[in-house]
């Protein structure tokens, strides 16, 4: 359970916490300014993190009942 709680915070830290350090245009990645790319990347990472949380969460192993 513990790891899941930490994972929950990761997207918030990655996007909001790092913003002051990634607020720049260069280098361009995938055609986007760096700050925009950073956020787009974190949207994908958030999806992956939620996927990991889902796998680790014992509540999801039982059927549809809870």
């Amino acid at each position: 359970m513990k790891i899941i709680y930490i994972l929950t915070l990761v997207p918030f830290i990655g996007i909001l916490g790092f913003l002051p350090f990634v607020n720049k245009i260069e280098p361009y990645v995938l055609g986007m300014p760096f700050n925009m790319f950073w956020m787009a990347m974190w949207v994908v990472l958030t999806s992956a993190i939620l996927g990991i949380m889902y796998k680790l969460d014992p509540r999801n192993r039982e059927g549809d009942q809870e």
Partner: protein, 492 residues
């Protein structure tokens, strides 16, 4: 009438037709339709929620902010994404409690948790007040689409009236529930059109994304970064947090939670939903392309940028298709919002004062209220000069006031009682309204603070005061509060 308007009209008639068809044979009220027997699986709940979350705001307002404000527009992408992280924990809890207690609406949730019908009425009224700006956004969207697609023949205010009338007719004819299929068509069309425009326009005009951004950066230095003051990094962080807290507080979204088959549905949807928001990137690309190609749109006119650029680029028939998709993104959520407001007023406010009236009577009253609410929204649409984004942020500042008492109600031994909840919500609302009317920012209220603190979203203050008042009053009235919730049976 030109070909663009004809195509848009065809979309309107098609959606009304689908609405009529879907309402035949079923005579359900809004809650029954939304709650749907609590049997919906992941895909259906996803569509239901996407239908309510992605409105004409994502279509026109998102590109409008990219056009007018630059990088800060990214908040739209981020708050939706981070809300899904919250949903992983929040929604299964709400769903289970609602199921155990057979709840139908958001008001019911507050009534049941705090054993206070007054709090339920208050929550319903907060919902009503918060949804009005969002309805205004949909009307603005309809107005923009129709007036732009008429190539100047129809003025903005005439177009807003036409939009409001269409919306009202759509709600009245398609019965008390809209068509799910219209919502599905809307999402498919929106994704297809936005994806196409976001890829085609930068390549057509600049040869690619990076050349487009470089040109914008050269023409407007600093525009692609968060500025040092104003819509700065601290504005962004505080705004996103505020919006994440408010995201699931909308009454129509809240009750859509009830429709799921299990709590697992939300945890599953949380994985895939962030990827869907990436579509908004393409909306931003359109807005950024428009900066250099259709310059000169200032203030609320920035919301016109997507359509102006499209008109510059494409033939009228294609403007009709874009307009048609835009029409659906306003009509589908607009009708849900209008119905929600009408139902909240009829069922969760009026019925509380007149408990003996029949359900038929309530349904009739809700229908009667629809045109009145539409009129009120028209009034605000024609008399307010705000951008869509400003309106959405205002709605969120209001609805977020429900979050503290809702969050605490999920705790097993809730230290908050109904007195605290009611006092907190009312104080929070009062502050939001004062701030909005006086157009204050933290900077104007506390000029001596450092810049980063001045830029914080002013809605945060209302939320913080709400929180403090809620706790203080709860402690002060501890003795008066009746024994609250008998703890729920199977907590984690």
């Amino acid at each position: 009438m030109n070909i663009a308007l004809l195509i848009i009209l065809a979309f309107l008639l098609l959606s009304i037709f689908l609405g009529i068809r879907s309402s035949k044979g079923k005579d359900m009220d809004l809650e029954q339709w939304t709650v749907g027997g609590r049997g919906f699986g992941a895909i259906f709940v996803f569509l239901l929620m996407a239908g309510e979350i992605y409105t004409t705001f994502s279509f026109l307002g998102g590109s409008g902010w990219a056009y007018g404000k630059g990088a800060p527009a990214l908040y739209v992408l981020i708050y939706i994404t981070l809300s899904y992280v919250l949903s992983y924990w929040l929604l299964p809890e709400i769903w289970r409690y609602a199921k155990e207690n057979k709840l139908m609406s958001q008001s019911d949730f507050f009534v049941s948790k705090y054993k206070s019908p007054s709090l339920g009425i208050l929550a319903a009224l907060v919902g009503v007040v918060s949804m009005i700006p969002v309805i205004v956004v949909q009307l603005k969207g309809l107005g923009i689409i129709v007036s732009e697609a008429s190539y100047g023949a129809i003025s903005m205010s005439e177009a807003v009236w036409m939009g409001a009338i269409s919306l009202t007719i759509y709600v009245m004819i398609s019965g008390i529930h809209g068509s799910v299929w219209t919502a599905v068509i809307k999402d498919i069309m929106m994704v297809a059109i936005i994806g196409f425009l976001g890829i085609y326009l930068p390549i057509h005009y600049f040869g690619g994304f990076q050349p487009m951004f470089e040109a914008v950066d050269a023409a407007k230095p600093g525009f692609l970064k968060f500025p040092d003051q104003g819509l700065s990094v601290s504005w962004f962080i505080s705004t996103v947090i505020l919006l994440v807290f408010g995201f699931y507080m909308w009454p129509q979204v809240f009750s859509a939670v009830y429709s799921a088959r299990s709590g697992k549905v939300f945890r599953k949807n949380a994985i895939i939903s962030p990827l869907y928001t990436l579509m908004l990137l393409f909306v931003f690309f359109v807005g950024f392309t428009a900066i250099l190609k259709v310059p000169g749109l200032v203030g609320a006119d920035a919301d016109l940028s997507l359509l102006r650029l499209s008109i510059e680029t494409f033939d009228p028939w294609f403007i009709g298709i874009i307009g048609g998709a835009g029409l659906l993104t306003a009509l589908v959520p607009g009708s849900m919002l209008l119905m929600s407001v009408a139902t909240l007023l009829a069922k969760n406010v009026y019925k509380e004062f007149a408990p003996d009236v029949s359900d038929r009577h309530i349904v009739r009253l809700a229908k009667f209220l629809v045109p009145i609410i539409a009129l009120i929204a028209v009034y605000f649409t024609l008399n307010g000069g705000e951008t869509m984004s400003a309106l959405i942020l205002m709605g969120y500042s209001l609805i977020t006031q429900l979050f503290p008492s809702l969050l605490f109600s999920l705790k097993r031994n809730n230290p908050i009682n109904k007195f605290g909840a009611i006092a907190g919500i009312i104080t929070g609302l009062a502050i939001v309204i004062c701030i909005t009317l006086s157009q204050s920012t933290i900077g104007t209220l506390f000029p001596s603070l450092p810049q980063a603190a001045k830029d914080l979203n002013v809605g945060i203050i209302a939320l913080a005061v709400n929180f403090i008042v809620m706790i203080t009053v709860s402690i002060a009235f501890r003795k008066h509060a009746v024994q609250l919730e008998p703890k729920s049976v199977n907590d984690i």
